[in-house]
């Protein structure tokens, strides 16, 4: 589904990603861990198509197609979803209105008609139940005055609504208390299928108890320096990152 080959990317002439290789197949869950500043969010943004990041070399293939030239919205239309580490506020635009716009813009790009209102309402009801979201919440301005946890839950609600092929969850666990974490993880698991894939970016192994990864990668200074199975996450939790730094000789 997603294939990243020797990807180098920079921002403001500063090299951040320095040769990433990653292969995610349909049905898989990958976890990316690593210390602060190692480039995890940058990788997510580059895959999602944020323009201020410049791809120097390498390629990103989605279902075999090089998406380097595609805009962020075109990638979204092809099923790429990013749950933001820091979701932005859009005052005066309700969650519902935002979702309606997002869904219909995506449908338009796919040559479909707008989703009928009753279908939309039904979907909103189902997905908000899945994530135990109070419906009143959906008429509030997007992320404005939301707590950290509410923002993250709202990101996953959007994911549920958009049903992406590839979801990248960037530190979705930070800001969530243990109950919310369980609800959100449960939601993600229910949305999981043989046809989609999830990349979970996290610092903590905690989330991975709920969303169990098939593979765990350690990102350090812009490179994936170690890959393994979920045991690697336990090991990192127990020993921190220093041993990895030593092992890779930096």
């Amino acid at each position: 589904m997603l294939k990243i080959n020797d990807l180098h990317a920079s921002v403001e002439d500063k090299a951040i990603l320095r040769g990433i290789n990653l292969h995610v197949k349909p049905g898989e869950v990958h976890a990316i861990m690593g210390p602060n500043g190692s480039g995890k969010s940058t990788l997510a943004s580059v895959v999602a198509g944020k323009e201020e990041y410049e791809v120097q070399s390498g390629e990103i293939l989605l279902d075999g197609e090089n998406i380097d030239e595609l805009s962020a919205e075109e990638r979204a239309h092809k099923g790429v979803f990013l749950s933001f580490q820091y979701p932005v506020e859009i005052p005066g635009v309700s969650v519902t209105n935002f979702m309606k716009t997002a869904i219909n813009e995506t449908r338009k790009a796919q040559g479909l008609k707008e989703m009928p209102a009753n279908e939309m309402l039904k979907m909103i009801r189902q997905k908000s139940e899945l994530l135990e979201i109070d419906r009143k919440f959906l008429s509030r301005s997007l992320n404005e005055g939301f707590s950290g946890g509410e923002k993250k839950r709202n990101e996953i609600f959007q994911m549920a609504m958009l049903e992406p092929k590839l979801a990248i969850l960037d530190e979705t666990d930070s800001g969530l208390d243990i109950d919310a974490l369980r609800i959100v993880a449960n939601g993600v698991n229910k949305l999981k299928s043989e046809d989609n894939a999830v990349i979970v970016i996290t610092h903590y192994q905690r989330l991975l108890d709920y969303i169990v990864p098939d593979f765990v990668h350690v990102l350090y200074e812009g490179r994936i320096v170690k890959s393994g199975t979920k045991e690697l996450a336990h090991e990192l939790e127990a020993k921190g990152y220093d041993w990895i730094k030593e092992e890779v000789g930096v």
Partner: protein, 482 residues
């Protein structure tokens, strides 16, 4: 018949030519350029006005001659040569084009986006149309519904003929002839405009809309509007049209006077979309408007405006809260793009006790435009317990535009409570990327953010108008980022 709503009317209008015959037909050549007492007299004569009206105009003209054009507003433009303008020309009844193919495709594309029907497009662009002979029925239905309630809604020229006592009693009482330079000019030469009277205790059953009085085309330059809501009555009045108005007249100086007698309420909504000039700032309308309302006891006046057009806008819809417990409101969205300049805001003058005013102003600047809010809250020494809340928010798009806020407060009574809040924000790249990531392209993302920003004001517009205004905001800002 009593259930006949504006929607019904709109429905009928779709199939019929909306020529209401509100216009007293004037067969006329255009007057020679220039302005003097003879021209003022000639205008009055053309309109077969009574002597007192001619005198009133002349008084205004004499004051105007003594006045100088104001320069305090934060706008810069080449002053019009008032002697190079023709002050009277017959309403433009001759079609400009024979078919839509001859009309500027850009204009048509805009009509398309606004969802304006083909017939309306022709009408607005000035294309010849087949005249539907029995169009009279629409006008009759509309007028009959109003007449049953004793409501008068007609052109000001007609009102001067048919209801001289009302016009004489109220014209110039809220905006005196010598109020300011442009008001004086308007008083001397006003070509036409609307008149509306709601009798005591009557709730006007439909929105009164100048949109249906399509005679605007030729009379827009010096429009004069007078709305009188008698005791305990209510009216919602819609002015303007979302369709872009291209006009050869560069200078527009309208006057609107509202009178809300005891316990009456007037809602006055405007969507203004005059030609703003091209992307380089060439052409475009200068819009110098004086709008003011007077509230008697327990009366309420709300001004709601969406301003997207004009090269230069100078406009301060105001409320004089004369009666005790009266309420004034001002809700405004002003968009400037390219080289547009807007200096707009309001004046709330608190004279009565327990008077209340609310000001919500949303300025959106893009391109190289300048957008200024100028507001005065004045509390007289005799006004006990006056309250005002003002909120002025500015949204900037890009680095080349400007937003300015000039709030003036003159509180002469210690019991006054005045609150002022102001914010300035910028559409951030992060907001755009967030939307893009959800499949929303940049243009649509901006529209979404701008609509969110303007929501408090859009919500004050009548539903139909709000939807149109929303589309208009989108179009006005197209291509402004990216």
């Amino acid at each position: 018949m009593s259930k006949y709503t504006e929607d019904d009317l709109r429905e009928e209008l779709k199939t019929k030519e909306y020529e209401y015959g509100f216009y007293t037909d004037i067969e006329s050549e255009t007057f020679p350029v220039g302005l003097n007492e003879d021209i003022v007299r000639a205008i009055s004569k053309k309109k077969e006005e009574p002597e007192w009206m001619t005198e009133w105009r002349l008084e205004a003209f004499r004051s105007w001659q003594e006045m100088i054009e104001p320069e305090w507003a934060n706008v810069h433009y080449e002053k019009p040569d008032f002697q190079a303008i023709s002050y009277y020309s017959a309403p433009n009844s001759k079609p400009k084009y024979d078919s839509l193919d001859e009309v500027d495709p850009e204009l048509l594309a805009t009509f398309e986006k606004l969802g304006i029907s083909l017939d309306e497009q022709k009408k607005l662009a000035g294309v010849a149309m087949d005249v539907v002979v029995d169009s009279v029925s629409v006008a009759t239905t509309f007028k009959k519904t109003l007449a049953e309630k004793g409501i008068i809604f007609c052109s000001i020229s007609e009102a001067i003929q048919e209801h001289p006592e009302l016009v004489k009693k109220y014209i110039g009482t809220v905006v005196p002839q010598k109020d300011n330079f442009y008001a004086a000019l308007n008083s001397a030469v006003f070509s036409d405009g609307s008149f509306c009277y709601i009798p005591k205790g009557v709730r006007c059953p439909m929105e009164l809309s100048t949109y249906f009085r399509i005679n605007q085309a030729g009379t827009g330059q010096f429009e004069r509007t007078l709305v009188i809501a008698d005791e305990g009555s209510y009216v919602s009045y819609l002015e303007g049209c979302t369709a872009p108005s291209r006009d050869e007249n560069q200078l527009h100086a309208a006057v609107v006077e509202l009178i809300a007698l005891d316990d009456a309420e007037i809602k006055y909504s405007t969507v203004q979309n005059w030609f703003p000039g091209d992307a380089d700032g060439k052409g475009g309308v200068f819009n110098f408007v004086t709008k003011r309302g007077l509230c008697e006891k327990n009366a309420k006046i709300s001004w709601t405006q969406v301003e997207t057009g004009s090269a230069v806008t100078w406009k301060y819809p105001s409320c004089v809260l004369k009666g005790d417990n009266s309420v004034g409101e001002f809700y405004s969205i002003a968009v400037t793009n390219n080289y547009q300049q807007a200096d707009t805001g309001t004046k709330m003058v608190h004279l009565g006790n327990n008077t209340k005013s609310t000001i919500i102003s949303k300025g959106i600047s893009a391109g190289k435009s300048q957008n200024s809010y100028r507001g005065l809250v004045q509390v007289s020494s005799r006004a006990e317990n006056a309250r005002n809340f003002s909120q002025c928010d500015s949204l900037l798009m890009g680095n080349l535009c400007g937003a300015h806020t000039f709030p003036y407060i003159e509180a002469n009574n210690k019991t006054a409570k005045i609150e002022h809040e102001a914010t300035t924000s910028k559409i951030g790249e992060d907001q755009i990327f967030y939307c893009n990531q959800r499949g929303i392209d940049t243009e649509k993302a901006i529209a979404l953010i701008v609509n969110g920003f303007s929501k408090e004001v859009l919500n004050k517009l009548p539903m139909e108008f709000a939807v149109e205004a929303q589309k208009l905001l989108e179009i006005s800002l197209e291509g402004s980022v990216g």
